[in-house]
């Protein structure tokens, strides 16, 4: 079981969601996030005062999938989230020990 966390551009959420569903991913959690990687922020002006905004709005998306599904899910995110410009985000993959469905206490891959 693997957890795939992807930080993506907010404008790419719909495309990524569709791609993941097409790849067979059942459950998705998203979080509205702010952050920056190597990408620099932008500046805003209010009545001449300059504000540099370095924590930009991002979407953090989490899916937990079986080991066999992982590469397909990663490929789906890569394909849908990429614009080719700085700021497209990152994907982090971690191993997950267990999953438990709260409703009926299913465990392991069947709980996904």
């Amino acid at each position: 079981m693997q957890k795939i966390e992807a930080i993506i551009q907010p404008s790419k959420l719909e495309a990524v969601k569709t791609a993941l569903v097409e790849a067979g991913v059942e459950g998705i959690t998203i979080l509205e996030a702010r952050g920056h990687g190597r990408q620099k922020g932008h500046t805003e002006f209010y009545r001449g005062r300059e504000y540099s905004v370095d924590l930009l709005p991002k979407i953090k998306l989490e899916v937990v999938v079986t080991d066999t599904m992982a590469e397909a899910a990663i490929a789906a995110i890569l394909g849908a989230a990429r614009t080719g410009k700085i700021g497209d985000g990152k994907i982090f993959v971690t191993r997950v020990d267990d999953a438990i469905r709260i409703r009926n206490e299913d465990r392991g891959d069947v709980a996904l």
Binding site: E44, F45, Y46, R47, G48, R49, Y51, S52
Partner: protein
């Protein structure tokens, strides 16, 4: 039913007329008396009709001016502060709608508009004594004095509310209330009396010593509030973290709605200052609109050139600056003069807000001085330049001939009168505001604690918060 009654009345009239015609002439009472009687009735009917028209217009104008404070100014200002201060900022405007109203009824109307000396009115109209439904011809011959009183009250409400822009996000609510009450008594009432009151020093239409042209409150409203705002900003000091921490507006959308409500409400403010629904109201209405439009363009173009982008906040700030600047001139200048005043004000206030403020480093948080103080001063001066006797023949010689009004018409002396009016407004505002601030500071303290300031006024002063969009609360 109604028609039948009419018919019956008509028949009765015809019958009476017939009787009168067939009766021998020598049996008649003097026909002159009857004609005079009918004429008197006709005159009364005409006067009633005019009063109905003017009064209807003025009551609508009074409501429009109240709309400028709430929701207009409340939205305009609260959008510019951080999210934690949105209600605190709205309450600063709204509190004026309550406090100043009661104060006006008790004493401040009398201090502003009852007869007194050249500087302040008397107390004989305190508790609105003698302020009834018959007109006071010195002020407005065709509306009830109470309409005049309630219309002027709306000006007295918005003026202190404007100051709040300078001490936003850091003043105690209690201190703000006390400050505003004292300010209304010490600064507003005397200034309103001097410019508009009977026997006022600067009153141009009731024989003041230095006739200052101020149609709708360039000096009385905007110079006083703007200059007092600057004094407040300097006295209170900067907000915690200013200017290092970013403090961008939390919702330019709120400010945008507020500014547009101000624009509409300003028709009541300026066109209503004609105090009747006649041609002068049209002049002021047109000029108000032209001034706002030209200033919105002026500010936007200046910003576009210097900054690369014309912002929404810039456009609405420009419109407010133009409305401020055209306020004293609204009933004196031509539409082309209004366009010129607006355009100049847009660029000038942009420069004041963007450049001058950062040179000096004071924290006039929402630019009450940069827009109202600077725009009001510029507008009051330009009124002396652009005023036309063809629009408003305010100056007359002993024989009743119209004299020129402004500089462009060949009356350079008016610029001096305007400067005197402006200087008095500045002086009164600086001295009055400083004394009040000091008084409130040593008694109950002006600023919230550092902790309360970090928490925000909403929670620390009012025990609530403006937005509850947490998913867990749904």
């Amino acid at each position: 039913m109604h028609c039948r009654t009419c018919k019956r009345a008509a028949h009765a009239l015809l019958l009476l007329l017939g009787l009168w015609l067939t009766t021998p002439a020598f049996a008649q009472p003097a026909p002159a008396a009857s004609t005079a009687d009918r004429l008197a009735k006709l005159e009364q009917a005409t006067a009633n009709a005019q009063m109905s028209g003017d009064n209807g217009w003025m009551l609508v104008c009074a409501a429009l001016v109240l709309m400028m404070t709430g929701p207009g100014l409340a939205l305009f200002y609260s959008g510019l502060v951080r999210r934690k201060n949105v209600l605190g900022t709205m309450m600063q405007s709204f509190a004026m709608m309550g406090l100043i109203t009661v104060l006006w009824a008790f004493v401040s109307y009398s201090l502003a508009f009852s007869s007194g000396n050249a500087f302040i009115g008397g107390l004989h109209q305190a508790f609105l004594h003698g302020v009834g439904l018959t007109p006071d011809p010195d002020y407005a011959a065709t509306i009830p004095l109470q309409t005049y009183m309630i219309y002027q009250l709306m000006f007295a409400i918005i003026t202190p509310a404007l100051i709040a822009g300078a001490f936003a996000e850091r003043m105690k609510f209690s201190a703000m209330c006390v400050f505003m009450i004292l300010w209304a008594l010490v600064v507003y009432s005397p200034m309103a009396h001097m410019v508009w009151g009977k026997g006022g020093l600067l009153n141009a239409s009731l024989g003041g010593r230095f006739p200052t042209l101020d149609f709708a409150g360039g000096t009385v409203v905007h110079v006083t509030s703007g200059v007092s705002a600057l004094v407040c900003a300097l006295y209170l000091g900067k907000r915690l973290g200013y200017p290092k921490e970013p403090m961008p507006p939390h919702s330019v959308v709120l400010s945008f709605i507020g500014a547009c409500l101000l624009w509409v409400g300003w028709f009541g403010f300026n066109a209503g200052s004609a105090l009747n629904a006649g041609t002068l109201a049209t002049s002021a209405f047109v000029n108000t609109h032209f001034g706002a439009a030209a200033a919105a363009i002026g500010w936007s173009v200046a910003e576009w050139i210097r900054n690369g982008k014309p912002s929404a906040l810039g456009a609405i700030s420009g419109c407010v600056a133009g409305l401020v600047a055209i306020t004293p001139a609204a009933g004196f200048v031509t539409p082309m003069g209004a366009l010129a005043i607006g355009a100049l004000a847009g660029v000038f206030c942009y420069f004041m807000v963007v450049k001058v403020k950062s040179w000096f480093g004071y924290d006039d948080s929402l630019d009450a001085f940069g827009v109202h103080g600077a725009g009001g001063t510029l507008g009051a001066l330009l009124t002396g330049v652009f005023a036309r006797s063809t629009i408003n023949p305010i100056f007359k010689d002993a024989k009743g001939n119209t004299l020129p009004s402004g500089l462009l018409e060949g009356h350079p002396g008016q610029l001096l009168n305007q400067a005197i009016g402006i200087a008095i407004a500045w002086g009164l505002s600086i001295v009055g505001t400083l004394i009040i601030l000091k008084l409130v500071d040593v008694t109950i303290g002006l600023r919230v604690s550092a902790e309360d300031e970090q928490t925000g006024l909403d929670l620390s002063q009012h025990g609530e918060h403006g937005y509850d969009w947490d998913i867990a609360a749904s």
